[in-house]
Point group: C2
Chain length 477, copies 2
C-alpha cells in the first residue's frame, strides 16, 4: 500500500524527556515552529484542546460573576512605568513598537506582557463610587515576553492566556477573590486536566512584579520537575495609588480600591503532555480531548462493518465527542495514530463483534480492554471515560507522592536535589539569602509555601535559625 | 433620591449622526478610549455582543469543516515582502517592533495587519500531497493597522476579527469556498444581526492587496453611507507561487494549490449601531443581545412584586437571556437605561398585573406593547423576539430601498451624490479612470459589482463607452 503512512516511533520518555516532549508536540500535531524566534503556531488539534480548556474555565469565571472585555495590545512606555516594581519586572522582557507605518512614534509602545497597567488606566476612568465596585473583569488574549530560550507551550515569546483583573471595596473581599480564583484553577486542573496540584503562596523573591502576595498552583511533571500552572495575585491598593484610582465609599469618604489579578495559559497544554504522556504519545484527559472516542472498523471492506461503525458513531455522539476513521489505512496504523493523539477511548468493531452484538473498548491510559455489549454502549462509554480520568489523576498523584521528599539538613537536601528529581520539603527561616543559597548549592527554587503546612522541624534547613514555614523546593520549567 | 442617576439624553440621530454614534458607544457602555491612539477598550456589554457574534459565526465555520488555529502576531519584514502586491498594500500601515527587551532586533517585525503571509509559511511546511488538502483554517484574533482617523468599532488601529485561510486542490474548489464564506457572512448579517446586505465583487481598484478577486457584503447605514461588512478573497495560486507551496496531485504531478481568505470584524458592532439605533439609544438584534428580556418590577416595594418578578425570570430563562433589575432606581429610569442598551423586550410586572395574571411586554424596536397572560409567557417571549428581529430587518431593508437611486448620466449621479445619501446604481465601462473620476467629481467610491445585475443602459455613466456592468456607488465608512 503505497499510500500507507507509518506512524514513526517517538523518543522514549525515560531516555530523553526533552526530546520526547518535542516529539509529541510535533507528531500529535499540537504546534509548529514559525519563522519568528520563540513564537509558535498552535495547530488545529492543539487549539481544539485549548478551546475546551477555555470553555470550561470561562464558564467558571462567568458563574462567579466575571465579565469578559478586550483591552488594547499596546502599552505606552509612560503607562508601563507608573508602578515602579512592575516596570522593573517587565521592562527587560518586552517587545517595543517604535514605528507606525513610516512614521516614528513620539512615544514607544510595548506589546503587553500582562495588562495590569491597561486595566488600571481603564478602572481610573470608570470607578467613582462604591456602587461601581466590584469590577470583575477577564480577558482572553495573547501576550508577549521576550524569552531567550523557548519551548512550545512551556515558554514561548508569545503565549495565549486569560488574565483576570478585579477591583474591590475592601481588602478582605480582594483577598477572598484571589483565593477563589486560585481554587478555580486547582479545580480545573484536577477535574478537567486530571492533574493534582499543590496550592500555596510564592515567596517574596518569586512573587509577581508589583504584587503584595502571589499564590500559585504547582504541578509535578513526570520527570520530577515542577510546572507553575496558574497564579493569582493580591495587589493591595498599590496600583490604585500609582494610577490614582479612587472611589467614594458608603460613608462618603474617598478611598483606594483593592485589586487582584490572576492568569492561566497555554502552558496547561504542556502540563497535560508532561503529566500524562507516555512512549506511545499523548494521553488526553477526557474533559478536554477534542476526540473522546475514536471508532476503528476492523476488516472494514467486509459487508456491514462501515455501516455498523457509522451507526455506532451516531449513538456515541449523544454521550461523547466521537469520530469514525474510515480511511484506507490499516487498523494497526490507526491504533498507533490515535494513541499518539491521546484519544481516551478506542472502539473496535469488526465482523465477529457484529455477529456477537458487541464491541471492544480500549482505554488509552492503561490499554485495558473491555468487551461491551452494544446495547450498553451509551452507558459504558461515559463510565469508561470517567475511569480514564480517574486513572490518569491517580497515576499523576502517585507520581507526585513518589517524587516528594523531605530534607532536614542541607546535605540531605543537596543530595536529593542531585539524585532524585521531585519536590523537596524543607523548613525555611523566611530569609531571601537562604533561598538564594539553595538555588546556588542545590539548583532548586522555592515552588511555594503550601497552604497545608507540615512541621518537619524547628529550624531552617539552610541557616539553622528558627523556621517560619515549610517550603516545597524543586527544579522547575 | 440622591443616588438616582439620570439617563442623559443623547444627541439626536438626525441632528448629528457622528455625535449620535459616539454617544451610543459611550452611554450604552460598549467601548471606551485608551491612551493608545486609535485603540479602544471593548467593555463588557460590547464584548458580550461580540461573543454572541463569535459563537454564531464559529458554529457556521465548524459546520462547514473549518478548524481554528492560532498564528503568531508578528511577521518578519522579509516574510511580509514575499508577495509584491500584498506588501505594497499593507507596509504603509503596519506597526513595527524594532527591539525585544533591551536588544535591537536584527530584523524588524510587524504586528500582523492580516495573516496571509504567516499562513502561507505554515502551509508550505504542512502541505505536500493532495491528501493534505483542503486545509480549512480560521483564527480569532486582533490585528493592527496604523490608521490616521479612527472611530470605535468602525475603524480602529487595533480591531478584533476572524480571518479564514484555506488551500484547495483546484481553482473551482477555491472559488466555491470564497463564495460559500461570503454567503455565510450575508446569512449571519440577515439572520443574526437583522441587517440586509448587498453581495457583489469589488473592482480591481478596491480589491484586497494580493487577491485575484475580492467579494464583499455591503450594508447601508441609516445615514445612507455604506459599510463594508465582510470580505472574501480568491487568491488563485499567487501566494502559493510566492511562498513555494506545492503538492503532489492525484496524477503524481507537482502543483500549486489554490487559496482563499475571508474576514469579518468588530466593525459588525458598528453596523448594528448604525443600522438599528434611534434617539433613545442602541437597538439590538435579539440573536446577539446579551440581555434579550429585562424584567422591570413596578411598585416593587409592594408585597409579592419582587417575588413574582423573580419567578417570571426563572420561567423566561428557559427561552431567553433574561435579567431582573431589582435596583432601587425608578421604573422610568430603568425604562430609559435598557432602551439605551437596546434590550429587545421589556417585561413590566406590577401589583395590578399580578392581580390580573398578566404582564406587559414592550418591544424596543417600535415600542409596541402587548398585554400577555402569564401562562403564555414561554410561548410569547420567543414569538415577540422573532417579531422584533423581523421588524428590525424590514426597517433596515426599507431604509436601503428608500436610499438606493439610479443615475443614467453623470449630472444625475453628481446631483444625487450631493443631495441624497445612499447607494447610486449606475452603469460602468470597467475602466479605473472612470472610477477615479466618480470619486473626484461625486465623492463616491464603487461599493461593488452586485451579483444581481440590472440593465440600466448600454453605456458607462461617466465616459459613454459601452458598459460592462452595473455598479453600486456610494460614500462609505
Amino acid at each position: 500500500m503505497a499510500k500507507q503512512k507509518m506512524v514513526e516511533a517517538i523518543t522514549s520518555r525515560d531516555v530523553d524527556f526533552a526530546q520526547w516532549y518535542t516529539d509529541i508536540v510535533k507528531k500529535a500535531e499540537l504546534a509548529d515552529y514559525s519563522s519568528v524566534k520563540g513564537c509558535m503556531v498552535v495547530r488545529p488539534y492543539g487549539y481544539a484542546i485549548w478551546e475546551n480548556i477555555q470553555r470550561i474555565m470561562d464558564a467558571k469565571f462567568k458563574e462567579t460573576g466575571h465579565e469578559n472585555v478586550a483591552m488594547p495590545m499596546f502599552i505606552p512606555e509612560s503607562l508601563l512605568q507608573k508602578e515602579k516594581d512592575h516596570v522593573e519586572g517587565f521592562a527587560p522582557e518586552v517587545a517595543w513598537v517604535t514605528h507606525g507605518g513610516s512614521e516614528k512614534l513620539s512615544e514607544r509602545l510595548c506589546v503587553r506582557p500582562t495588562s495590569e497597567t491597561l486595566f488600571c488606566e481603564h478602572f481610573a476612568s470608570i470607578i467613582h463610587s462604591y456602587r461601581d465596585l466590584p469590577k470583575l473583569y477577564n480577558q482572553w488574549c495573547s501576550v508577549v515576553r521576550w524569552e531567550k530560550t523557548t519551548r512550545p507551550f512551556l515558554r514561548t515569546t508569545e503565549f495565549w492566556w486569560q488574565e483576570g483583573h478585579t477591583m474591590h471595596e475592601t481588602e478582605e473581599e480582594a483577598r477572598e477573590e484571589t483565593l477563589r480564583m486560585l481554587n478555580i484553577y486547582a479545580d480545573v486542573c484536577a477535574q478537567a486536566l486530571a492533574i493534582p496540584v499543590l496550592k500555596g503562596q510564592k515567596t517574596e523573591k518569586e512573587k509577581f512584579a508589583g504584587a503584595q502576595a502571589t499564590y500559585t498552583i504547582e504541578a509535578l511533571m513526570h520527570d520530577g520537575k515542577a510546572l507553575q500552572s496558574g497564579t493569582s495575585h493580591f495587589f493591595g491598593d498599590g496600583f490604585a495609588r500609582a494610577f490614582d484610582i479612587t472611589y467614594t465609599d458608603r460613608e462618603n469618604q474617598v478611598r483606594y480600591p483593592f485589586q487582584t489579578s490572576w492568569g492561566a495559559s497555554t502552558r496547561l497544554i504542556g502540563a497535560i503532555i508532561m503529566s500524562h504522556g507516555d512512549d506511545n504519545g499523548l494521553v488526553l484527559p477526557p474533559a478536554v480531548a477534542p476526540i473522546q472516542v475514536v471508532i476503528v472498523p476492523i476488516a472494514q471492506h467486509k459487508e456491514g462493518v462501515l455501516d455498523k461503525a457509522r451507526e455506532l458513531e451516531q449513538r456515541v455522539k449523544a454521550v461523547a465527542r466521537v469520530k469514525v476513521d474510515d480511511s484506507d489505512n490499516t487498523p494497526g496504523w490507526k491504533f498507533a495514530e490515535y494513541e499518539m493523539k491521546g484519544v481516551p477511548l478506542r472502539l473496535e468493531i469488526g465482523p465477529k463483534d457484529i455477529e456477537q452484538g458487541q464491541c471492544v473498548l480500549v482505554r488509552r491510559d492503561n490499554r485495558e480492554k473491555a468487551v461491551v455489549p452494544l446495547e450498553e454502549l451509551e452507558q459504558r462509554v461515559p463510565e469508561l471515560l470517567q475511569q480514564v480520568h480517574d486513572g490518569m489523576y491517580a497515576a499523576a498523584l502517585e507520581n507526585q507522592r513518589e517524587k516528594t521528599y523531605a530534607a532536614l539538613t542541607m546535605e540531605e537536601l543537596v543530595g536529593i536535589a542531585e539524585s532524585k528529581p521531585g519536590y523537596i520539603k524543607a523548613m525555611w527561616c523566611g530569609d531571601r539569602a537562604c533561598e538564594e543559597k539553595l538555588k546556588e548549592e542545590a539548583g532548586v527554587s522555592s515552588r511555594c509555601i503550601p497552604f497545608e503546612q507540615e512541621h518537619l522541624g524547628d529550624t531552617c534547613v539552610c541557616c539553622g535559625k528558627p523556621a517560619k514555614a515549610l517550603v516545597y523546593w524543586g527544579k522547575a520549567y
